[in-house]
C-alpha cells in the first residue's frame, strides 16, 4: 500500500517536472519558418569557405538575453543531429550560437568532404521554442583542395 502511494507520488513528481519543462519553454511564434537561404542543398563549396545566410519568416531576431515574444536567435548545427529541445543548446564547434542577433554566419574551416548544415532557433535563454523551430538539414560538399 505504502509502495503504491510512493509510486503514485513519484509518478506525480515526474509528470509535474515534465509539465514544468513544457511550461518554461518559450512558445514558438505562429507560422514561423526557419530556413537556410544559402547555400542550397547539395551545393559544392570550393575552398570550404562560405557565408551561410540564415532565413526566418513570420518571426524576429533578438540577441541572447533579450526576451521578447515572437523572437529568437539563430544556431547553426554543423555535422550533427538536433540536440534535446528542453535544455540549452550546447555551445561548441558543431553548435554555433549567434547570440549577437547575426543573420549570416561565416564558415572558414570546413574540411574536404560532405558536411551537413541545419538551423535551430532558440529563445533568449538558448532553449529551443515549443514547438521547436528548425530548418531542413542540408548537405554540402567541399571538394579536395
Amino acid at each position: 500500500m505504502l509502495l503504491t502511494r510512493t509510486v503514485a507520488v513519484v509518478v506525480l513528481l515526474a509528470v509535474s517536472s515534465v509539465m514544468a519543462f513544457a511550461a518554461e519553454r518559450t512558445p514558438a511564434p505562429k507560422n514561423a519558418v526557419v530556413y537556410i537561404i544559402w547555400p542550397p542543398d547539395g551545393a559544392v563549396i570550393r575552398g570550404g569557405k562560405l557565408w551561410v545566410r540564415m532565413g526566418l519568416r513570420n518571426a524576429g531576431v533578438a540577441p541572447k538575453g533579450v526576451c521578447m515574444s515572437n523572437t529568437g536567435h539563430h544556431h547553426l548545427l554543423i555535422d550533427t543531429d538536433l540536440p534535446s529541445f528542453d535544455v540549452e543548446i550546447p555551445s561548441d564547434r558543431q553548435h554555433l550560437h549567434f547570440g549577437g542577433g547575426q543573420t549570416e554566419a561565416r564558415l572558414e574551416d570546413l574540411t574536404p568532404g560532405k558536411h551537413t548544415l541545419q538551423l535551430l532557433l532558440a529563445d533568449c535563454n538558448h532553449v529551443p521554442h515549443d514547438p521547436p523551430l528548425y530548418s531542413k538539414k542540408i548537405t554540402i560538399t567541399v571538394p579536395p583542395y
Binding site: P63, V66, F98, T103
Partner: protein
C-alpha cells in the same frame, strides 16, 4: 561687415557644436558592417498584383528589436521609392519607410506596376541610424 562676420562665425561655431552633440548621441556601428537587399536583384522584373518576398542581408552586425539597445545591433528599415532620410534623426514611419522593429529579417510587399526602388537602412533601438550609417545600395525593380 564686422558684425556680419561675427554672426557668421557664431553660426558656424554653434553648427559645429550642435552637430558634434548630435553625433555623440548616435550609436556606433561596426566599421565593416555590410547591409544589402538579398532579393530582389537590381533590375529584377517582378509580376504585378502579386506579393513578393524581400530578404535583408546583414554581415558583421546583428539584429535586435526596437527598444533592445544591444551594441553592434539594429533593426531593418526598408525604403521604398525614396532617398535616404536625414541620418541624424529618427527614420520617418510611413508607406515609403517601413520599420521592422520586431527584428524581422525579411518581408513580403506588393507594389503597383511601374519602376520602383528598394533600399535598406539600419537604425538603433531608438530608430536613429548608426554612426557611420549602415545602408544598402539602392536597387531598381520593375513591376509589370
Amino acid at each position: 561687415m564686422k558684425i556680419m562676420i561675427r554672426n557668421l562665425l557664431a553660426c558656424l561655431v554653434s553648427a559645429v557644436l550642435f552637430s558634434g552633440v548630435a553625433m555623440a548621441d548616435r550609436t556606433p556601428a561596426p566599421e565593416n558592417a555590410y547591409l544589402y537587399v538579398g532579393w530582389p536583384n537590381d533590375g529584377e522584373v517582378v509580376p504585378a498584383n502579386r506579393p513578393f518576398r524581400v530578404w535583408f542581408g546583414l554581415r558583421n552586425m546583428g539584429v535586435a528589436p526596437k527598444g533592445a539597445c544591444v551594441p553592434n545591433t539594429g533593426h531593418h528599415h526598408l525604403l521604398i521609392d525614396t532617398d535616404l532620410p536625414p541620418l541624424d534623426q529618427e527614420i520617418p514611419s510611413d508607406r515609403n519607410h517601413i520599420h521592422f522593429g520586431a527584428g524581422q529579417t525579411e518581408t513580403t510587399i506588393e507594389l503597383p506596376p511601374g519602376t520602383h526602388t528598394l533600399q535598406l537602412l539600419m537604425a538603433d533601438c531608438n530608430h536613429v541610424p548608426h554612426d557611420p550609417p549602415v545602408y544598402s545600395t539602392k536597387k531598381t525593380i520593375y513591376v509589370r
